[in-house]
Amino acid sequence: MSKRRVVITGLGTINPLANNVPDTWSSLINGESGIDTITAFDTSELPVSFAGEVKNFDANEYMGKQQARKLDKSSQLSIFATEEALKDANLNTDERLGPNVGIVFGTGIGGIGSTEQAVRTFDERGASRINPLAITQLMPNSSTGQVAIQYGIEGPSLTITTACAASANAVGEAKNMIQNGIVDMVVVGGTESGTTPMTIGAFAQIRALSTNNENPKEACKPFDKDRDGFVMGEGSTVLIMESEESALKRGVDIYGYVAGYGATTDAYHITAPAEGGKGAVVAMQKSIKDADLSTEDIDYINAHGTSTPANDKNETAAIKTVFGPKAYEINISSTKSMTGHLLGGGGAFESMVSVLAIQKSIIPPTINLNNPDEECDLKYTPNVAIEKDIKVTMSNSFGFGGHNGVLVFKKD
C-alpha cells in the first residue's frame, strides 16, 4: 500500500520580522533584520543587550487580560499564530476541530519566562506567594494544551523538546502521523519566548551568543568569517498539515508537500556538533531517501546556519559530504540572519520559508554575509534574494543535545 501524501494548507506566524505570513515573507526577501536592542527588560547586567523580539503584540488587547495573564508569552504567541494558520487553511476557528485532528508542537524551553518569574517571587516573598498558575505556564507542553483547548483539538498530541530541532521534529512526526493514517490533519507548531534575563545570561555564559551589542542588526552573520555566535529570537509559527485526500476534499489551496523527514542523534556532545556534522549528514540522507528523491533534486537548502563558529563550519562540511560536487551548485541560505535563532520555533518557521520559497520562486538571502569564511564556501545567497524556479527544498535543524531534524518539501 502506498503511503498517504501529506500537504501544507495553512500557515501562521508571529516572529521578530512581522506578525503575519505576507509581511514576514516580504521582510525576508527584502533582507530586513528583525533584531534590535532588547526592550522587554533592563539588560545592564547582561553581556548581551539585543535579540529578535516580537513587536507590536499586546496580549491583553489580543485575547483579553483574564486569558492573557494565564498564559506564558510562548503560549500567547502560539495561539496567535494558530489563529492565522487555521483561517489560512479555510478552517472555522469558532468550531471545535475534534478527534480527527492532532496537534504536535515543538519548543526548546517552554515557559522559561514564567519559570524565571516564579523563582524571583519565591526568593523575594516565599513559597506561599508563588503564582498558582506557574506550573501551567512553565511546563513545555503548555502551548500544546492551550492551543488544543482554544480550538478543540481532540486527536493525539505531542510536545517535542529537542532544543533547536524541536519544531522540525514536530513537522516530521506530524507527517508520520498523517501518513500512517492516525489522523487526517495535524496542527503543527513551534514556539519560543526565551528573550528573558536569565536565559540570555545563561546562553551568554556558554559563549553561544553574539556580543555585537553596538550593531544588533548586523550581529547575526551566518557563514561569515566574523560571525561570533547566534542571536536569540522569539516567536511562533504554525502549519496546518493534512492528507492530500483531505485537502482535495475540502477544496483548499496547497502550499506544497511534506515529502521527506530524516532524524538522527549525534550521541557525541551536549552542545558541540559531531566533527564534520556526522549526525546531520545521515539525517539529510534519510530525508532525501524518505522523499524518494536523489541529491540531484534539491534546489534550495534553508540551512540551520546559526552564526556560531561551530555550526556553520560543520553544516557546510555535512552538506558537502551529502551532495558531493553538487553541493557547490545548490542555493543555500540562513534566514536566521534576519530572525535570529527562534530555538524550538525555528524548524516550523523555516519549514514555512521552505514552502513559500517553492510557491513564490524566490530564495531569501543570508544577510550580513560580507566576508565569507573559507570553510563556508558554498552558495549561501549573500544579502540579496534570488528569483529561481524551485521544485524541492530542504530544511535543516540541529539542536543542543545532538538532535538533528531534516525535512524535504516538494512542489507537487
Binding site: 483579553g64 487580560k65 495573564r69 506567594r129 503564582n131 498558582p132 498558575l133
Partner: protein
C-alpha cells in the same frame, strides 16, 4: 435600638467597602470585566474563575487585607457575596 441601627449601618458600610476592594482586585488583578462583578455573581460560572483561579483570588485577598485564609474556610464560598462576607468576618 438606635445604637443597634447605627451598628448595622456601620456594618453595611464596611461590607460595601470590602465589596469595592474585592471588585477592584477582580478587575485590576484578574482582568475580569467590572460590570460582571456583583455580590450575586458566581465565581466559577459567571466570572470564569476555575480551581487554579481561586488560589490566585485567595492570594490577592491575603495581600490586600493582610489576613490569612485557610482552605477549609473556602468550602462554602461560591459567590462574590460569600467571599465578601468571609473577608468582612475576618477583618
Amino acid at each position: 435600638m438606635e445604637d443597634l441601627l447605627l451598628k448595622l449601618r456601620g456594618i453595611v458600610v464596611e461590607v460595601n467597602e470590602v465589596f469595592e476592594k474585592v471588585k477592584k482586585l477582580f478587575v485590576d488583578e484578574l482582568g475580569i470585566e467590572a460590570d460582571k462583578v456583583t455580590m450575586e455573581a458566581k465565581l466559577e460560572e459567571d466570572l470564569d474563575i476555575d480551581s487554579l483561579g481561586i488560589v490566585e483570588v485567595v492570594m490577592a485577598f491575603e495581600d490586600e487585607f493582610e489576613i490569612e485564609i485557610d482552605d477549609e474556610e473556602l468550602t462554602d464560598v461560591g459567590t462574590v457575596g460569600q467571599a465578601v462576607n468571609l473577608l468582612h468576618s475576618k477583618l
